[in-house]
């Protein structure tokens, strides 16, 4: 149900913009108002959510320790997977965010006759995830050429690296290929692996379809429909300088692409995609394991009702005395 619902939602989005732009001529609405509004919603939404998380206390220091803790000088500490200092935490987080270290550990449990359990290393999810996120980032950065004039040198370098193989005209970007491949992989594993299909919600399929459609319309524009790039750049520059223009000859495909991105903007802050920001706040990863060496303060710590020693001794005084245990009150 979630799968079909998500698929048709994305189709509906495309139909809406098609009718809106080609049928009703709402260029200003789809080309200016909606992108502005949704981008604003994106920024406000993310800030709101991060502030909301940030205001919730971290009552306890609960890192998941994944290696030897700090101990005697003669015991080798695993300073990355079980950091005891802020620097260690920064390195741990960098590995986590940039290289998906936890996912790299992934194993696959297999039960054979015997019974015999084994846990082989499996890197596919890690590889697919890494490919998806990194190519997404590079593609995003490449898009800055549309918002900056002159195009900064680092972006030009990135583009030339990305089109290193000089295949086709316009030159094929490797990231485009890997990106669509990775999204497809992430989708297929959800559909094919029974357990994955079982746990997947609409909230899992929808962003995959949406992001795939964004990538796919981008690829169509660049390689197949050969949309007027100069015109698009006039328009994108107009958008970020708040002087919107509508050059002739920009096809509907661009509006579809833009509208899907707008949809992603709105959807992002209220969805699981917020893991992008959330991972930085995760208390099992971003805290040093120095609990016994330094006190962690819980702002809402409060006194609790306890059973005191006096009460204990009152209950058991005679029994204690009978076996020679010292007591406070004879």
């Amino acid at each position: 149900m979630g799968l079909l619902f998500s698929f048709f939602t994305v189709i509906a989005l495309i139909v809406i913009v098609f009718i809106g732009v080609n049928g009703a001529n709402l260029h200003y609405l789809f080309g200016v108002l909606i992108p502005y509004a949704t981008f604003l919603a994106f920024i406000i939404g993310i800030v709101y959510k991060v502030v909301q998380w940030g205001r919730i206390p971290v009552p306890f220091r609960i890192p998941t320790t994944a290696g030897q803790e700090e101990s005697f000088p003669w015991v080798k500490q695993n300073k990355i997977d079980n950091p005891s200092t802020s620097l260690g935490v920064i390195i741990r987080m960098a590995f986590e965010v940039l290289l998906f270290r936890s996912l790299f550990r992934n194993t696959k449990a297999e039960l054979r006759e015997g019974p015999k359990l084994s846990y082989g290393s499996t890197k596919w999810l890690w590889l697919g995830g890494l490919a998806f996120h990194w190519t997404f980032l590079i593609i995003l950065i490449r898009h800055f050429r549309l918002f900056l004039e002159p195009v900064p040198v680092p972006i030009k370098i990135l583009e030339s690296l990305d089109g290193f193989f000089q295949v086709g005209a316009p030159v094929l970007y490797l990231t485009d290929l890997i990106f669509l491949g990775a999204v497809t992989f992430l989708f297929l594993r959800r559909v094919i692996i029974p357990q994955m299909r079982y746990i997947s919600l609409a909230a899992d399929y929808f962003p995959l379809f949406l992001i795939f459609a964004i990538g796919f319309t981008g690829v169509l524009m660049r390689y197949f429909l050969k949309t007027d790039v100069v015109g698009i750049k006039q328009m994108t520059l107009g958008l970020i300088t708040f002087k919107p223009v509508f050059p002739e000859g920009i096809g509907i495909i661009f509006y579809i692409h833009l509208f899907l991105v707008s949809a992603l903007f709105v959807y992002f802050p209220m969805s699981k995609l917020m893991h992008m920001a959330g991972v930085f706040l995760s208390p099992t990863r971003n805290l040093a394991n120095n609990n016994r060496a330094a006190m962690h303060v819980n702002p809402w710590n409060y006194p609790v009702k306890v059973h005191t020693y006096e009460e204990y001794e009152d209950d058991f005084r005679e029994k204690m005395k009978s076996v020679g245990i010292p007591v406070e009150k004879e």
Binding site: P57, R189, Y309, V323
Partner: protein, 534 residues
């Protein structure tokens, strides 16, 4: 009820049902769930809704406004724990955690995949705490909190041992233990604890330990230990209790005072400290290092833990040593400094034997007994004869809590390697931070849920089986009282012929003591290697 044979239990169906999980009703299977709590246990600690009830009954006798209580409780807690809120918000259901859970591996129930177990509560959170869930309902993964949903949450909250293995593999560190801990806390607002947790909590409140051992019975146990030790070594140890002015307060899990093979660990500790002439005391009030309150609610955990600091203060000791226990060390390491710190009335711990400062615990002043002993051995303070353990081929089980809630790996291994010659590791994906739970942690060590415990114990036992077949391993060492109770059962079922021991039992067997008689028997009264005829 007899348990199925291992071959039958090991036939595990991993394919999920055809119907979606929200539309697949949860059937309560005997052997999987523990019994509900008794009213008296709840009354003892003034917990809500004490009444007689049975899990099997249709009517759980909940308060009229149970829904409101649960949802209000949920709203309160998502604003008190960043972990909780974040973990409910950001899961992408990538599935990396799915086959990391011992209950899923050993049972195949899809709702025991950590991701789905969390979704049971997450769906309720979406319905009552998020805008999209309120508006979009099921399509946003939200669902109403009906009585069946509540029962489902209960059923699976007591099928998670809070071992955190899933958290290790999660790309965002989502920790199902946090979700289970808070789910149980919410269930406790409605009087929905299990007997095997609520009983020990009440005992601990009244007597200072889970088993309800009163002061004179504790002394009785020790008298037995002392006599047995004298028989084995010719030396009569003389421990002290509730003694003011001792340098160190020793607190161990009470299981080690009561049942084999944990008692041998206590006996080992008695011998070691006698040999050292250590100035330490036991306490009948602080007679429990573990904390079943931790499996109930944060507040209950703190209420029970108080006795340890109160006693340390009353006895005016310098620092506290903790015995071999798993969840106890999660609590001691990650919680109690926050509950009770700063602990100004104690001193930064220094070993009186070696002079070593325990730098990593300078704030809350609690030393793990294995840290203490490893330091002794490193400084050559113990006269050890590892050949006395030559009859043992040992492997080591890392406890979940000391592994993933502390990172305590090398010290116990260093000790084991110093006191016995035959040590073999289990496969790398089953030890250290990747260790598997015994299947009975977090208060699930009851007997009525034995099938589930055995299923949960399969991954651990299977790794033991591997080293048994490969190296002839016949002894499983561990540093956890629940392990010493639970693994005996699980190992006996899946891989008979392997014993379970605490690390300090091995130490005491190898310890050559001043003035000891010719040692022919180990602490269990069995002949030492080469002494079979004596």
């Amino acid at each position: 009820m007899a348990n199925p044979k291992p071959e039958e239990l090991a036939r595990i169906e991993y394919n999920p049902p055809k119907t979606g999980w929200m539309d697949t009703p949860t059937v309560f299977k005997p052997g999987i769930f523990p019994y509900g709590c008794k009213p008296k246990s709840l009354e003892t600690v003034s917990f809500p809704n004490p009444r007689s009830w049975s899990v099997k009954d249709e009517d759980w006798k909940l308060p009229e406004n149970w829904q409101e209580i649960f949802i209000e409780g949920l709203r309160e807690r998502v604003n008190k724990y960043r972990s909780f809120r974040l973990f409910l918000d950001i899961c992408v259901r990538c599935g990396a955690c799915a086959d990391k859970c011992h209950f899923y591996i050993g049972g195949g129930d899809p709702k025991n995949m950590p991701v789905l177990r969390a979704e049971l509560l997450r769906s309720v959170y979406r319905k009552y705490c998020t805008t999209s869930g309120k508006i979009m309902g099921k399509i946003a993964g939200a669902r109403e909190l009906t009585i069946d949903v509540l029962k489902e949450i209960w059923y699976y909250a007591y099928q998670c041992t809070e071992c955190r293995r899933c958290s290790l593999f999660c790309p965002y560190g989502i920790d199902t233990a946090e979700i289970t801990i808070l789910a149980r806390e919410l269930l406790n607002l409605l009087g929905l604890n299990i007997d095997w947790i609520a009983g020990p909590v009440a005992n601990c409140w009244l007597t200072g330990n889970h088993l309800g051992l009163q002061p004179h019975t504790i002394i009785d146990s020790f008298d037995m230990f002392i006599n047995d030790l004298e028989t084995a070594t010719g030396i009569r140890v003389s421990p002290t209790f509730n003694r003011k002015g001792a340098e160190i307060l020793l607190v161990v899990p009470s299981g080690d005072l009561f049942a084999d093979p944990g008692t041998y660990t206590t006996m080992g500790e008695l011998l070691l400290f006698h040999e050292l002439g250590l100035d330490y005391t036991w306490s009948t009030f602080a007679s429990e290092g573990g904390d079943f309150g931790f499996f109930t609610s944060n507040e209950m955990a703190k209420r029970l833990h108080n006795k340890i600091y109160e006693e340390a203060k009353r006895l005016k000791v310098k620092w506290i040593m903790g015995g071999e226990c798993g969840h106890m060390w999660r609590v001691w390491h990650q919680y109690h400094n926050t509950w009770f710190g700063p602990v100004d009335f104690l001193e930064e711990p220094v070993s009186p034997i070696t002079g070593t400062k325990f730098e990593n615990t300078k704030s809350n002043k609690t030393v793990h007994i294995c840290e203490f002993t490893a330091d002794l051995i490193k400084h050559g303070k113990l006269n050890l004869d590892p050949s006395r353990n030559d009859n043992l081929i040992v492997t080591y089980h890392d406890s979940c809590n000391t592994s993933r809630g502390m990172g305590f790996f090398e010290e116990p291994r260093y000790i084991i390697n110093s006191v016995c010659k035959n040590f073999y590791e289990m496969p790398p994906n089953t030890i250290r931070e990747q260790t598997f739970c015994c299947g009975s942690g977090s208060g699930l060590n009851a007997s009525e849920n034995m099938e589930n415990r055995l299923r949960g114990g399969l991954p651990r036992a299977n790794a033991v089986k591997h080293v048994k077949e490969k190296y002839g391993v016949n002894m499983l060492a561990c540093i956890c009282a629940i392990d010493r109770a639970a693994l005996v059962t699980a190992v006996d079922y899946w891989v008979p012929g392997v014993g379970v021991t605490g690390v300090h039992e091995l130490v005491a067997n190898a310890l050559v003591m001043k003035g000891e008689k010719k040692r022919t028997k180990d602490l269990r009264g069995e002949p030492l290697p080469g002494m079979e005829g004596e």
